[in-house]
Amino acid sequence: MKLLKAFKLACFGLWSNRFRVLSAMMGVVIGMFAVIVLTAIAIGVKDTLMKQMGSLGAEQILVLPGRVLDTANGQKDLLSGLTSVPSTLTYDDAKAVEGVPNVKSVTPQLETITIAKYDDKKVQSSLVGTTDQYSRIQHAELLEGRFFTKEEQAAKAKVIVLGNNIHDALLGKQENPVENGEGSSETGQPKPLWKRVLDKLLGESASAEEKSLVGKTVTIKEESYEVIGVLAPNATLGSSTDNNIVLPIETALAMSDMKNLTKMIVEASSLDMVDQVDGEIFKAIKANHSEIDFSVVKQDQMLGALGKVTSILQMMLFGITVTALLISGTGIMNVMVMSVRERTREIGIRKALGASTFEVMAQFFFETLLLCLIGGAVGIGLGYAFAEAWNSNIEIFSLVLPMWAVKLALYTSFGIGSLFGIYPALKAARMNPSKALRFE
């Protein structure tokens, strides 16, 4: 009964001091907003990375240049990374893997940095030589045109498929072509985030002339290539195709500087065969190499390593969040201590009129608690709105806000209110009424 009365008085106290309360609440609002947004970022990044890795398919196996070190328990230590050695993987290795039983497909990739020219535009891009399976394996959808065929690959056809950014840059839709000046180092980087958002809001570069390069000829290393397709924007973390120019691997190998594979994606015929195929791939490649200077990595190993990285990211964000909450909690406590001081005479009056120590303490405790809960709810709401706005405008990765994070934030608000409300409440409760009444 006394608690209910104190709760009512606290509600009334907050309402009576609503302007001061609003300013005090800002700390919690910002703190909770930070918690929600940082949590949404951490989970969003993790989910996106996991999804991207997972989208490769659990039956896929990566063959990478360099050797992944084994840990003491025999696991591959992907976190320590691959040893930095030049790639010795060749197209012949890929062909050897194709011959391994239960291998469904092999998608070798070799990459180099090159400059593509169209009219007076020059764009630095990543030239990827691969097979006709590339678009399926990389989930690279076509915006227009088509992908090259097996026949074009075998015939070393001079056809290319442009990544979205490269296509736009060659058309002058983006401000990142390499200008005519010698030695210019500008690259075909993706548009900065703010620019993408701005473009989205204003309607993509209204001034740019709308046209396509499909069917046109682009020059790479003094050779002409026909553009047969343009990839849809693929703003994924780490493995975006936006800045790539994709061409048949046979065509790429004909270029003097493209010999060694940067990676090979092997698809097993079924999930059950992955472990067996994994070993067979190793043997097949090993037969072509004098030493083990390559690694065969399964998806679960990649996901495990990624999980560790994202866990570190989450721990870091957790640390930042705890710091933010401690700061906002301390801020609230200071404001409430100030409030208690300012309301000393009021406390004296309440005590003179019969308020017990417990009632005064409960009132001020509930005031802090309510302030934190309301501030927390507002912060969570703002964080949710921010995540929604982000998700509808920005594609690079989605912010994910699970219900447990919202509940955790609310419980945290409750915890902060409880923890940091004790001291001001005790301070108020312990006041001597006769002294409090004389307070100027």
Partner: protein
């Protein structure tokens, strides 16, 4: 009835301790109107704090309505204060962000009495004090006299057995002083016990009995 027996109170100061009350004896019968006078620093306010259970005696005995106040813990003193004592202060001591109505209601909020008619009780008192039309106003919109009427209404709302008034007209002009004293007379006639602490002879003369506090004792 109020009874103080050999009550002593001292305060610690920088140089040691100062004895304010040095064996005060006082008996106030139910329904009596008593004025306690004294110079500044004579211990009048200390006396009021002790009578109002806002402070505790160092030694001696204090009984109010048959209850041994000097043996009570904080919680019981707070309850006694709420049920048996009504305060009227010189500076009104109204809570600034509460309305007149809410200020008067406050003692009922902390009380254990289950008054069914809390609202009508408050309105009745405001009407009696002639400030019913001000019930929704905040204290800063009221005159000194009106503020003191609110304070008196608040002191009476819980139907206490004693009203303690500390310089109740100290902040008021002559005309308002008279109206407030008339109000005390009316309350007294209804049977309330009133103890007024004042240094104003005009105020003290309205009481049945005048006591003087000199050198820490009542004479």
């Amino acid at each position: 009835m109020i009874e103080l027996r050999d009550v002593r109170k001292h305060f610690r100061t920088g140089s040691g301790k100062t004895e304010i009350l040095r064996g005060v004896n006082l008996t106030v019968e139910q329904g009596e109107y008593v004025a306690i006078m004294g110079k500044s620093g004579s211990g009048k306010s200390t006396m009021l704090n002790l009578l109002g259970t806002l402070d505790v005696v160092d030694s001696g005995a204090y009984e109010l309505a048959g209850k041994k106040v000097h043996k009570m813990r904080k919680g019981r003193r707070a309850r006694l204060r709420n049920e048996e004592i009504g305060f009227v202060f010189q500076h009104f001591q109204l809570i600034a962000n509460l309305s007149v109505y809410q200020n008067v209601l406050l003692p009922l909020t902390y009380g254990r009495k289950r008054l069914r008619r809390k609202r009508s009780r408050v309105l009745e008192l405001l009407d009696e004090m002639g400030i019913l039309d001000k019930k929704n106003q905040k204290p800063d919109r009221l005159s000194g006299g009106e503020k003191q009427r609110v304070a008196i209404a608040r002191a009476l709302v819980n139907e206490p057995s004693v009203i303690l008034a500390d310089e109740p007209t100290g902040s008021l002009d002559e005309e308002t002083t008279e109206s407030i004293l008339s109000l005390f007379d009316r309350v007294h006639k209804k049977g309330a016990t009133i103890i007024v602490i004042t240094h104003d002879m005009e105020v003290a003369e309205r009481a049945d009995r005048i006591l003087r506090l000199q050198n820490g004792v009542l004479v």
